[in-house]
């Protein structure tokens, strides 16, 4: 009979071990799933960013003709654009790499900053603002930027879901064991500025027109 009890206890222990094993696997698979969802979400942003980076050289080419004295700013824009494009390519290739993501966020911030400056400078060139191509490009950039923001909301949402799953108490041990790292949010302050600068441009333009009409 003693053996019987021993067997029962052992069976219990084994059962527990199996349940723990299954649980670890469950957590692991859950994290993988969340991470994949997050990475898949990035592709939506990546496509829009690529579009934006394709538009910027056109903008610079156009602006160059008007802004002869702002050479350094234009060079900065191109430089920042190239850096951001490279960072985007790196993240697209491996969205799980937090370092690449950090660089991406930083590069986007820089780009947003110089772009904001470029648009601010363009205020001083009424010919440029009246240019049909310029208006089209600005419109295109704004709508692309808006789509980036839209996709970013979804991305940051899934980053939060993933990070939460990673940080809650028992799961964080599993995450540590398998080397899951926290994902970086895609938050760029500078980006908003471009959008705003463009919008105010538009609004001002509207104002100008109404002013002229009067």
């Amino acid at each position: 009979m003693t053996l019987n009890i021993g067997v029962i206890i052992l069976a219990g222990l084994v059962g527990l071990a199996v349940i723990i094993g299954l649980w670890v696997m469950g957590v692991y698979n859950g994290l993988i799933r969340k991470r994949n969802a997050k990475d898949n979400n990035y592709s939506q942003i990546g496509i829009q960013l690529t579009r934006k980076y394709d538009l910027i050289p056109n903008l610079v080419k156009l602006v160059k003709g008007y802004m002869k004295h702002e050479r350094t700013t234009l060079e900065e824009v191109i430089q920042a654009r190239n850096m951001a494009a490279n960072a985007n390519a790196a993240v697209s290739a491996n969205p799980s790499d937090p370092e690449a993501m950090k660089q991406m966020v930083a590069a986007e911030g820089t780009l947003g900053g110089v772009m904001g400056r470029l648009f601010a400078l363009s205020e001083a060139y009424p010919d440029l603002k009246a240019n049909q191509n310029m208006m089209q490009l600005t419109e295109e950039l704004t709508s692309t930027e808006n789509k980036v923001t839209f996709a970013r909301q979804a991305f940051n949402d899934s980053v939060m879901g993933y990070n939460n799953a990673l940080q809650v108490f028992p799961a964080n041990m599993v995450a540590g064991m398998f080397g899951f790292v926290e994902a970086i949010f895609f938050e760029v302050e500078g980006l908003g500025d471009v959008g705003k600068a463009v919008v105010t441009d538009d609004q001002k333009k509207d104002l100008d027109i109404s002013f002229d009409d009067m």
Partner: protein, 675 residues
């Protein structure tokens, strides 16, 4: 065999499977019991307690314990796996290491793949499924997974996407779609869960063996005493025995899996040919698998568990044909192409394109970029005259209601050609918008926008602006004119396309989207048929993606208790079909005749069978057994086509009704039935 029968068969197969599996588990439990009793008896015997040894076999307590233990372990593990897979197709795709293909992709091979998938989705009236690519898998293989039409995904290997021609790819995708439409995927996911339970038992056996081995090993070193070694040895032996019995179980499970899977593969092959009417495409794909060194082999470690989900054999050729999850390649090819001599060396491969090569789809793109004078002309090139008739007159003659029901879940070559023509004829702006999450929202809003540039439209745009901001309202306005010029038949398919992108919304964005749709539909103080059909379609297919808890619909195996719901369905359809009281009566009678045997119907006045009532009734009717759904759809088709003709509006409503019942009806099914 039609859609309903195939689904019923899949269901029967599941029942059969559960039965076989129960038998297998019982057998394993019995073996386990014998094993434990023998070990206990043997170890008891060394202590000189002979009586205990013989009685252990018949000890009811021990038997109960072992049987229960076995059932619990297998049950828990199986349920656990099921829970994990409850995410549906996307969780399987994640398991396989798939990467979601962006709908707006610019890679030419990915574009080709998406085009083929979109065509097939429109032809069979299901929302575009998520498509995953398994990068780094050079073999040619594909899978479909998910519980329902809404969470279905299609996965293809990199080799499949890049090495097959368009026709071959279409054959493979049609094969996968037939798995989706036949509900094979549900069966497949259950198989995965069941086999996982058996694997868990084997894992326990191994753990026990190790415990037994180590403790007896350690003990014998520590002391020369022999007494304690017996228990540890017994544990080791039990572990070994468990591994053996569960091994047997896994073998049995695999046999069941293989037997079911092989049959479904043949069925999917024949359905794929039925859809595409092009056996060469599918045969070509199979031949390429045969000709390639890697064939259809998969590298992912999870291949074994899900081997039965794949297009081709993902594992190494097994020794015994009865454990293979797929029929032999040559047999499959010979069924499609009886003249094939089995010589794979003749198979030609196109040059493997690198992602940067000249895009093949560019040509198509520019073609569609050329303004097409009239939708009717563009479609007319690819379509039989009877569909042209619909385009011209806005209505079409109907064969029989049974023919309409037959077309459900059974797209044909004509549907696929129609879908291709329709996709080509879409303005570039609309197509691009459907591929982008942000613009897909705007596209759906534009479809709901009041055509007149009046106060209603202003109100609607204000609503969009309030929920999504100025840019969204602008995008909606921009798409309005494009949408207005769409062929009326193209509108619901466009929404099917958009659903694919809308899955990428965040939950919060989806909540806003739902609010906006509701607001737009109600802006003119009434919901018309199109608004009803559209919101029903979009929300029905999107909601399961965002609301994790699936609503349990009650199951009904008879329409007797649902007489009110059936009455609402037929009465409201009759009100749509006829304008005069007389016409309504004829329509109602035509539909009611089909259901007269099943339930008692009462004709309801128009006020009592509005769209809201219809919606509620459909929610309940969605739970009826599949063979009853056929009756319902036949009755619905008979009602709306009582006058012998079907207007576009009626066709759309019929489609929405069928869709709500979980039966995808190909667009223009009616036109084709008459052909």
């Amino acid at each position: 065999m039609d859609f309903f029968e195939r689904q019923q068969q899949a269901k029967k197969k599941t029942g059969y499977l559960v039965f076989l599996f129960g038998v297998a588990v019982l057998l394993i439990s019995l073996l386990n019991h014998l094993l434990v009793a023998t070990v206990l008896g043997a170890s008891g015997a060394t202590e000189g307690d002979m009586e205990f040894g013989t009685s252990a076999y018949t000890d009811p307590e021990l038997a109960g314990l072992v049987f229960m233990g076995t059932f619990v372990v297998i049950g828990i593990a199986g349920l656990f796996r099921r829970m994990q897979l409850s995410g549906g197709g996307s969780s399987v795709a994640a398991m396989m290491g798939g990467r979601l293909v962006n709908m707006a992709t610019t890679d030419p091979d990915e574009r080709k793949l998406m085009n083929v998938v979109e065509e097939m989705a429109i032809a069979s009236s299901v929302p575009v499924p998520e498509v995953y690519v398994m990068d780094g898998e050079a073999g040619i293989n594909a899978f479909a997974a998910g519980y329902t039409l809404d969470d279905a995904v299609i996965g293809v290997t990199d080799g499949c996407m890049r090495r097959l021609s368009r026709d071959e790819l279409q054959g493979v995708i049609a094969h996968e779609f037939s798995h989706i439409l036949n509900q094979d995927m549900k069966l497949n996911l259950r198989l995965v869960a069941v086999i996982y339970g058996l694997i868990a038992l084997a894992v326990i056996g191994r753990v026990l063996l190790q415990i037994g081995f180590y403790s007896s090993h350690g003990r014998s070193r520590r002391s020369s005493e022999n007494g304690g070694g017996g228990g540890a040895l017994a544990i080791g032996v039990v572990g070994l025995g468990l591994m053996a019995t569960s091994g047997l179980g896994i073998l049995m499970g695999n046999l069941i899996k293989s037997a079911v899977s092989r049959q479904r593969e043949y069925l999917a092959d024949s359905s794929a040919v039925q859809y595409t009417r092009n056996p060469e495409g599918l045969a070509g794909a199979l031949k390429k698998i045969g000709a390639m060194a890697t064939g259809s082999r998969l590298l992912t470690p999870h291949a074994e568990e899900a081997s039965h989900m794949f297009f081709g054999n993902g594992m190494r050729e097994s020794w015994f044909s009865f454990t293979a999850t797929h029929p032999p390649l040559l047999d499959r090819i010979l069924l499609l192409e009886p003249s094939f001599d089995g010589d794979f060396s003749e198979v030609k491969f196109e040059e493997r394109r690198s992602p940067t090569a000249k895009p093949d789809s560019k040509a198509q793109r520019t073609q569609s970029g050329i303004p097409i004078p009239g939708m009717g002309d563009a479609l007319g090139q690819a379509l039989p005259p009877v569909i042209m008739g619909l385009a011209a007159a806005g209505q079409v003659q109907v064969g029989s209601a049974a023919a309409v029901a037959d077309s459900v879940g059974n797209p044909t070559r004509q549907h696929i050609d129609f879908a291709a023509a329709l996709l080509r004829s879409l303005p570039e702006a609309v197509r691009a918008a459907a591929h982008d999450t942000h613009d897909a929202c705007a596209l759906v809003f534009a479809l709901l926008l009041d055509p007149k540039d009046g106060p209603v439209q202003k109100k609607q745009l204000g609503q969009v602006n309030g929920l999504f901001g100025e840019q969204m309202a602008k995008a909606t306005l921009k798409l309005r004119s494009e949408v207005a010029s769409l062929d009326p038949r193209a509108k619901l398919p466009v929404a099917d396309l958009a659903v694919g992108s809308l899955r990428q919304l965040s939950p919060e964005q989806f909540a806003h989207f739902k609010l906006a749709m509701d607001g737009l539909a109600k802006a003119d103080e009434q919901i018309d048929l199109f608004e009803f059909s559209l919101s029903k379609l979009v929300l029905r297919h999107l909601e399961p993606h965002f609301v994790k808890r699936r609503k349990k619909t009650a199951r009904y195996y008879s329409l007797k208790k649902l007489s009110h719901e059936c009455s609402v369905l037929i009465s409201s359809l009759a009100c749509t079909a006829g304008s005069s009281a007389e016409a309504i009566q004829t329509a109602y009678d035509a539909g009611a005749a089909h259901l007269a045997a099943a339930t008692r119907l009462t004709q309801l006045p128009a006020a009592e069978c509005g769209l809201q009532e219809l919606d509620r009734a459909l929610g309940k009717l969605a739970g009826v057994a599949i063979n009853l759904k056929r009756q319902l759809i036949e009755a619905a088709a008979a009602t709306v086509s009582a006058d012998g003709y079907l207007q576009i509006q009626e066709a759309e409503l019929l489609r929405a009704v069928s869709d709500s019942l979980g039966c995808p009806m190909p667009p223009l099914a009616i036109a084709l039935a008459a052909a």
